[in-house]
């Protein structure tokens, strides 16, 4: 009997060994382990055995069963793995084919620049103010120390609607409006981005509509060195830490002293090239200390309050920063242009 069981084990294991499909294994399992299988049959004949032999043979029979079951399980796992591998191999795709496109939108380059400027000044404690694009002569000119007949009005030929209404030529009227609103009684720290309009014929460097960002800080004891410090911080964040700034005296009716700010040319690192016309410097913005007349007209006592103001053109900044060669690109909305700058 013992021999018979060992023989069966041998026989079953070699069949498992030979099996190639899961079905084969199932067949073997049924054939050897089932109730009608040979092992059961052997066990049925145990009645004929002696008391001493019975447990020995019983134990052996269980070992044989276990051995076969183990082998069957192991083989089954192996075959299942092989089958899965085969299936996966069949499922292989060409990963180099293009994916289904998703529509990707994005902001206009000018919006990106304006928001960058906004965020930068918000970080320095400025608020964002807005104002009307159709302005009164008073806010656009007179409140900014540009009375009727002032020669500097020539500098910004305007689109008038009536004698008193015009498309604003700069965002500076928002300064006057904000100061008026604060009524001479509290500090003002704001920037105002917006569209402005001038009587220019559109060409590569002129546009009858363009964007401006104006800044104003009014408080007690504001120093010109503060203007220099704030603009320096702006320039470095906007154009890179390695850029230097310089201020030059200039003239605007609404500031005194007035400045123009240059940054060191990025192309030649200040050594002089065609971009900076050999000077090593590129003009970026204008500003100055708020003219006492402007403060006075807005209800601020120039003996108590003073401040600084500045204005810049996002188009010019974009042109310098990204090498855009024609201001009209900003308004033509050529998709091939817009797509170059959508950083979503």
């Amino acid at each position: 009997m013992k021999e018979r069981l060992q023989e069966l084990q041998q026989e079953a294991l070699s069949k498992v060994e030979e099996a190639v499909t899961l079905a084969d294994l199932q067949e073997i399992r049924v054939a050897y382990m089932g109730k009608k299988g040979p092992i059961t049959e052997v066990l049925r004949g145990m009645g004929k055995l002696s008391k001493e032999e019975r447990p020995v043979i019983g134990e052996l029979a269980n070992k044989v069963r276990e051995a076969i079951a183990d082998e069957l399980d192991q083989k089954k796992a192996k075959l299942e793995d092989a089958e899965l591998e085969k299936k996966l191999a069949e499922e292989t795709i060409d990963v180099t084919l293009p994916g289904r496109p998703v529509q990707v939108g994005g902001p206009h380059l000018l919006t990106s620049i304006v928001e960058e400027i906004e965020d930068l000044f918000i970080g320095m404690g400025f608020e964002i103010r807005e104002g009307p694009e159709v302005e009164t002569d008073y806010y656009n000119f007179e409140a900014l120390n540009l009375p009727k007949g002032h020669p500097a009005r020539d500098m910004q030929d305007s689109f008038y609607i009536t004698e008193d209404l015009l498309l604003r030529t700069h965002t500076s009227p928002v300064q006057a409006r904000t100061m008026g609103e604060y009524n001479g009684s509290q500090p003002v720290k704001m920037i105002c981005p917006g569209k402005v309009y001038r009587r220019d014929t559109d060409d590569a460097t002129h546009s009858h509509q363009f964007t401006q960002v104006e800044g104003l800080y009014v408080d007690k004891d504001v120093r010109m060195s503060d203007l220099k410090g704030v603009l320096n911080r702006f320039a470095k964040q906007m154009f890179g830490e390695e850029r230097e700034i310089r201020l030059r005296p200039s003239f605007f009716p609404f500031t005194e002293p007035s400045v123009e700010m240059d940054i060191s040319c990025k192309v030649c690192n200040g050594n002089g090239c065609s971009v900076c016309k050999g000077t090593g410097w590129i003009e970026i913005l204008g500003g100055g200390m708020v003219h006492p007349r402007v403060l006075e007209m807005a209800g601020y006592d120039p003996k108590v309050y003073n401040g600084f103001a500045f204005g810049m053109g996002p188009e010019r900044i974009a042109m310098l920063k990204y090498g855009v060669d024609d201001i009209r690109h900003f308004y033509t909305n050529d998709i091939r242009f817009l797509k170059q700058y959508h950083k979503a």
Binding site: G105, E133, L165
Partner: protein, 808 residues
């Protein structure tokens, strides 16, 4: 303003500084140097030659064979200039010379005869045609007799000069004169200034015996001075003067005219010379012109005047348009022997009006317009007399006949060191301030830290403390100011809710696949109401137009961003870019007045336009073209994001497809529209099917709830039921859905449309609409009977309201 450095050296010693270094210093101190011009930068080897003989070329009619003595040798030169003659002193480019344009002079043979150099015209030496004196414009230049043979001709013609081009801001009109520039550069370099000679020996006769001066409009002409100079011999002015005028961009004419121009440039004071004998009387009357009074000016134009214009008259007829241009009737000519010289102060307003009205901008008018230095008016007249005496043989009559109500007082400005430092953020000491004032040539009294400054009249731009702050700062150097940050109480900067919402809306559209555009606010009169949202059309009475547009293209303020956006689509599609999804957030301008007197309302809106393919994935055979529901989905997404409930109603809007356009409402308030552009308009713009929207952001921002309230996440299961209904084909899904929603009440959380069918399995004129209903009570588990009861009630209601039958 063009500044010849050689000329400037007459007043100050600029030392060995290079033109570039000087330009950099001037720019940094306040006047931008826009360019440096070297007239004969690359020229060399041009000398004065004496034409010893001049004969016809044996083989050419128009050429002359000259023997020219250039000092160390005699050169045979062939010359084609018509004005060449024996005995002339001319500019000779010797073999080996280089002329502008890198033109090298070599020995050559012309028609078989050797030529060893070239006799030059001024143009060939690099002077612009328009500045070349007329008498030598068509030929070679001839030097005055007193020049030395063999001398450097480039130097004699001042072509070794460097000319700085100053870009002057309107406040610095003091630098519209060589003296003004000299004061500026003297301050920068800290050198003394030498003023020109004004003293002149006068004749015995009195000018007052020759002429009287009467001013009828002292407000426009507070000073008028008349000088009389006899025995004038009109001829060429000295070479150096001609050179300087050319360098400054003025063409030399004759000594009298050149001297007035020279003094204009030197002092910044325009002068006018009349021919005394042609003046027509012994009386100068300055008055406002009569209405329609006529004058023929020097340029031979007849001009019609008004009482805004100031004229110089002989008591009867106008002889000059004051400060702008003289009259042809009294012009100085070659025959002039007695000159009546005018040195006057004309008010900026009078001159600006006249120069604008007549389109005449001259060196004179630009200076008067900015306001000339009151102190230099009479002095300039004297300086001109001195030059006329010296270079035009003039005898200056004694005295000046004048009318004088001119305010020549100097402004007084007080500054304190501490105030200056507080404003600039510097630590400048008293001595430094005193030193800056000395460099500027300003007189002052100092009392410890207080300075009382007498501002010279040449600096009309300085009247208040702040002006002096700038003067001190710019001489001290803007570069020397420290970098500081504001020391006031800091506040938190940030965006307002509305500003944040605007950014959110933009980001939403971008994440939905739309590209932001920025179009012009000014459109054409025709396009302005091409497609306008109904609620805007309702409010707008007249589109806002410019009173004087530059072009029809940009003449009217937009009522919608769409017309210009369609134009952008069209632009792209003409360049084979036809799949486009654009949006813009911007303002439109609505006036509720027939005739505008108030600022229009500026309304914030979002508009979009989509055309062409939305999704193209060819290898998987997928292609989705933009349609109504794609665009509606984008708009619905925006409303979901902003928590706005919107209703859509079929609408007829001009410019839109009548069957595919919906007006949008929220709680009954119109907030825009969505739909397909009318096919006729699509054709006009050469566009494929194009869907657009235009939404009122102001209103939806105003009802937007900023802080969302927390809604509990439901803990009980929901029950889903489908219902398929057969209705007449013109029944709107939205209406059926509303009925379901209203009957379903709070239990029905969502009603979705999942199928729309029309076709062979249904009766003609019928369609099937299938809805999915989601039942939910957040507080408990729903019972089957409740859902069943609600479902039945809904069926009853849709049958009643829409004759809907349950689809079998």
């Amino acid at each position: 303003m063009f500044v010849s450095l050689n000329w400037l050296k007459n007043y100050i010693d600029i030392g060995s500084i290079s033109p570039e270094e000087l330009a950099e210093k001037i720019t940094k101190t306040g006047i931008e140097v826009e360019g440096i011009e070297y007239v004969a930068e690359k020229s060399s080897n041009v000398v004065v030659g004496l034409v010893e003989s001049c004969e016809k070329h044996p083989n050419a009619d128009k050429l002359n064979l000259c023997q020219v003595n250039v000092g160390d040798e005699v050169l045979q030169i062939i010359c084609g200039a018509p004005n060449i003659a024996k005995g002339q002193k001319v500019a000779v480019a010797k073999p080996g010379a280089v002329l502008p344009g890198n033109f090298k002079i070599k020995k050559a043979k012309l028609r078989g005869v050797e030529s060893n150099g070239m006799i030059c015209s001024l143009q060939e030496l690099g002077i612009e045609e328009k500045f070349v004196p007329k008498e030598v414009a068509d030929g070679i230049f001839v030097f005055p007799e007193d020049v030395e043979v063999g001398a450097d001709a480039l130097q004699l013609l001042n072509l070794d000069d460097a000319i700085l081009e100053l870009g002057l801001t309107p406040n610095r009109s003091d630098a519209l004169s060589m003296l003004g520039v000299a004061y500026e550069v003297a301050a920068i370099l800290d050198v003394p200034i030498h003023l020109p000679e004004e003293a002149v020996e006068t004749g015995k006769e009195q000018a007052a015996d020759y002429v009287e001066v009467k001013v009828d409009a002292p407000d426009l002409n507070p000073y008028y001075g008349a000088f009389v100079i006899k025995d004038i011999k009109v001829g060429p002015s000295p070479l150096w003067m001609r050179n300087y005028l050319i360098a400054a961009g003025i063409r030399p004419i004759n000594n009298v005219v050149d001297i007035t121009n020279y003094v204009l440039l030197e002092y910044g004071q325009p002068l006018h010379a009349f021919d005394f004998d042609d003046f027509g009387s012994k009386e100068i009357v300055v008055r406002r012109a009569e209405q329609d009074e006529k004058i023929i000016t020097l340029d031979n134009q007849e001009r019609s005047l008004t009482s805004d214009h100031l004229v110089i008259t002989n008591g009867q007829t106008a002889t000059a348009l004051a400060g702008v241009m003289g009259g042809a009737n009294s012009e100085v000519s070659d025959q002039t022997t007695t000159v009546l010289l005018e040195a006057a102060y004309f008010s900026p307003v009078a001159v600006r009006t006249a120069s604008k009205d007549h389109g005449l901008r001259s060196e004179s008018s630009t200076r008067f317009e900015k306001g000339v230095d009151p102190d230099r008016v009479k002095r300039a007249g004297k300086r001109a007399c001195q030059l006329l005496s010296k270079y035009a043989n003039g005898t200056v009559l004694s005295g000046v006949v004048e009318f004088d109500q001119l305010d020549k007082s100097e402004a007084t400005v007080e500054i304190k060191r501490s105030n200056i430092n507080a404003r600039l953020g510097t630590e400048i000491n008293n001595d430094e301030i005193a030193d800056i004032l000395r460099k500027l040539n300003f007189t002052y009294n100092q009392n410890d830290e207080a300075f009382t400054i007498q501002v010279p009249t040449r600096r009309q731009d300085i009247t208040i403390f702040e002006d002096m702050v700038e003067e001190v700062a710019r001489i001290y150097g803007y570069d020397n100011l420290p970098f500081t940050l504001p020391q006031g109480a800091s506040q938190a900067g940030g965006l307002t809710n509305l500003q944040q919402l605007k950014r959110d809306v933009k980001h939403y559209f971008e994440s939905a696949g739309l590209m932001e555009t920025i179009t012009y606010s000014l459109t054409t009169k025709e396009r302005v109401d091409l497609i306008v949202s109904p609620e805007i059309k309702e409010q707008s009475v007249t589109p806002v137009e410019l009173s004087m547009p530059m072009s029809e293209e940009h003449s009217t303020l937009r009522l919608s961003m769409l017309p210009e956006m369609l134009d952008s689509l069209s632009y792209n599609s003409a360049r084979k870019q036809s799949n486009l999804a654009y949006y813009e957030v911007g303002t439109v301008f609505v006036s509720q007045q027939e005739k505008i007197t108030k600022q229009p309302n500026e309304l914030l809106r979002a508009a979009g336009a989509l055309t062409g393919a939305w999704l193209a994935h060819p290898w998987q055979q997928e292609k989705k073209v933009v349609d109504f529901f794609l665009v509606k989905g984008i708009v619905e997404g925006l409303f979901t994001k902003l928590n706005i409930t919107a209703e859509y109603k079929q609408a007829n809007i001009e410019g839109m497809h009548p069957g595919r356009t919906a007006q949008i409402f929220t709680s009954g308030t119109p907030i825009g529209f969505i739909g397909q552009v009318h096919p006729k308009l699509q054709k006009a713009y050469d566009l494929a099917d194009t869907y657009i929207f235009d939404i009122d952001l102001d209103y939806i921002f105003s009802i937007h709830q900023n802080e969302p309230n927390f809604i509990k996440i439901p803990r009980y299961p929901s029950v889903s039921r489908d219902i398929a209904l057969v209705v007449d084909e013109d029944v709107l899904a939205g209406d059926v859905r509303s009925t379901i929603q209203s009957v379903g009440g709070d239990l029905v959380k969502e009603v979705g449309v999942f199928d729309v069918y029309q076709g062979e399995h249904l009766q003609q004129g019928k369609k099937s609409l299938a809805f999915n209903l989601l039942y939910l009570d957040p507080e408990r588990t729903l019972k089957d009977e409740e859902v069943e009861a609600s479902y039945k009630a809904i069926l009853e209601a849709v049958k009643e309201a829409h004759q809907a039958e349950l689809r079998g």
